[in-house]
Amino acid sequence: MLKRRRWIFSLVAILPVLAIFAYVRVYPIGEILRLSLHKWDILSREKPFIGLANFQELFGDSLFRTALFNTSIIAFGVLIITLPLALVLAALIHHRTRSRFASFYETTIFIPHVVSLVPAAMAWKWIFDARLGPLNAVLSVFGIPPQAWLFDPVLSIVSIIVLCSWQALGFAVLIYLVGFKNLPKSLFEASKLDGASGIQQFWFVAVPLLKPITLYVSVATLVSAFNVYAQVYVLASDAQGAPGRQVRVLVLDMLENTFRNYRVGYAASEAVVLLVIVLILTAIQFSLLREKGTR
């Protein structure tokens, strides 16, 4: 009896949150799914149902395919750079936790994550600048000829990956640090007595035990990287007077289809594809990182 009353109370207590969540999260997703099956030009009152026609068109659309390709390269590039780097940095910071500079290190690494995106991206645009940027200046010291970072089709994507990783790193390090702080100290002591060096402790004890954290960080990083837009907009889009070629990403393509081409249904179908990709990747990561046995 009491149990049931408590159950009802809990339900009532979380209902408002659930309602808001449903309204701002679930409803738009449903709406996108619905729109993706319709043809709509924003203005007209008619939204004819066209089945999967939008999707059929998408796969023949070279702009979409370029955007999908670029976005995937960027997302995985960011993941591959951020994950190991964050793990190692967090390990180093954790290792030096008792040093007076520990909080300085943590803050330094976390700042990029809280700095406003556009000014930060502007700064990086200057860093990457072919003629005036410090990056090329530094490279020239090592005898490397100046590179057209934001012109070259490959280098401009590399530049975006660097910018996105720089931003994602702080968050990842922070989460890993929490993970490190929660690892039982006695395991490290035991492994020390077992003869493990610092690097062996990291590799054989910390990394496996941080698997759940790695899962979370990689999902969060990948999902946010798949939604890359502003960084590209500042660094390499025509609207910002990109020096050369525009790097097309999925969100940009969606925006163009919606507000320049007035094809909302079509853009919605792109969003659905993005959603499906992210869901599949998340599922893969979960199964890859699922812990062995029933521990």
Binding site: P184, S186, L187, E189, A190, S191, K192, L193, D194, G195, A196, Q200, F204, V205, P208, L209, K211, E291, K292, G293, T294, R295
Partner: protein, 356 residues
């Protein structure tokens, strides 16, 4: 196998001295138990031996070699932690073989040594499981297995049985003793449980507040505790401690205390200072009527083999233990006297044992 020598060791965290000038010599192959109340520095001392804590002063040597500055992994010691500290992501076999793997031993050798240790500990059927899939006692055994596999010079145990239930604790106690008899490796065992200390040790070290109060064989500590602390700590139920004075006249010595206690003592000790009479519960014996000191019975506990009687001499409570069954009831008065030669005398102020 090696001897272990702790000489004038100190440990300070900032201004706080938690180990103050401790010296213990552990002969090769001995089973030594460090015992003392919580916070007395047992774990700290053990961790200094293991190399998990720096040594603030003095030296620790293993097999005659000073190891103060030697890396933990080169000290050739193995430690069993209170919470076992098993690697949760490794199977039992991997847990036990981890140190050998790190040492770069060939795989067949690792497998062989892990299997041997598992057989000794009855873990052969569990080698493929993960720690989460084992019971507390089995995990405890894996932790010991991890230590055995390395075949170290010295084993260190930090309260390894405190997470087990009473029955399992008794069983593991026996297994550990058996293991020691088989391996004959030097073992240092930390506990705050004096029963564990008494039953397992070749040699007990009683600590309090970072100093050694007394060390010696279990029965030596029981029979001749060198101060009130050890007297109260070793033995269960604890030794009765009755404050009073020694009176000596032509009839011999008598102990006179509160609650009309007056017992004749055969002792050559003479002192005017306040003394404390220590008397083990089993050394209080029923006296024939008219002799002894009457005590009023407050509580009787029967275990079957023994009878514990809690009684008051006036206001002073005491515990007596009888092996024979007596027709007693709560509220009765029982006349008690001392078994011959069973009295311990301590200086009340210094707490030190008085000797003739």
């Amino acid at each position: 196998m090696a001897s272990l020598d702790i000489a004038n060791v100190k440990k300070a965290y900032g201004d706080v001295e938690v180990i103050r000038d401790v010296s213990i010599g552990v002969p090769d192959g001995a089973f030594v138990v460090l015992v003392g109340p919580s916070g007395c520095g047992k774990s700290t001392l053990l961790r200094m031996i293991a190399g998990l804590e720096d040594i603030s002063g003095g030296t620790i040597s293993i097999g005659g070699k000073v190891i103060n500055e030697v890396e933990p992994k080169n000290r050739d010691i193995a430690m069993v932690f209170q919470n076992y500290a098993l690697y949760p992501h490794m199977t039992i076999a991997e847990n036990m073989g981890f140190s050998l793997r790190l040492a770069g031993r060939p795989k067949p050798e690792i497998a062989q040594r892990v299997e041997d240790a598992a057989r000794i500990l009855g873990l052969s059927d569990y080698l493929g499981r993960y720690p989460k899939q084992l019971s507390g006692g089995q995990r405890q055994r894996v932790a010991m297995g991890r230590a055995i596999v390395r075949n170290p010079q010295v084993f260190l145990f930090d309260e390894p049985l405190s997470n087990l239930d009473a029955k399992l604790r008794v069983q593991m106690r026996a297994e550990l003793k058996e293991l020691h008899a088989r391996l004959k490796t030097t073992m240092i065992y930390v506990t705050h449980d004096q029963i564990e200390a008494m039953t397992m040790a070749d040699f007990i070290v009683v600590m309090r507040d970072g100093v050694v109060e007394q060390m010696g064989a279990p029965l030596a500590l029981y029979d001749t505790p060198s101060n009130l602390f050890v007297a109260g700590f070793i033995g269960s139920p604890a030794m009765n401690q009755l404050p009073g004075r020694l009176v000596a006249d032509e009839n011999g010595s008598r102990f006179v205390g509160a609650g009309d206690i007056a017992w004749p003592l055969e002792t050559s000790i003479r002192t005017d200072r306040p003394v404390t009479l220590g008397i083990r519960p089993e050394h209080l014996v029923p006296a024939p009527d008219g002799q002894g000191v009457p005590a009023r019975i407050k509580l009787i506990e029967q275990t079957g083999s023994e009878t514990y009687v809690i009684a008051h001499f006036g206001e002073t409570p005491i515990v007596a233990l009888f092996r024979q069954r007596l027709p007693l009831a709560i509220g009765d008065t029982i006349s008690l006297t001392l078994a011959p030669g069973a009295a311990h005398l301590f200086d009340t102020e210094t707490g030190q044992r008085l000797t003739a």
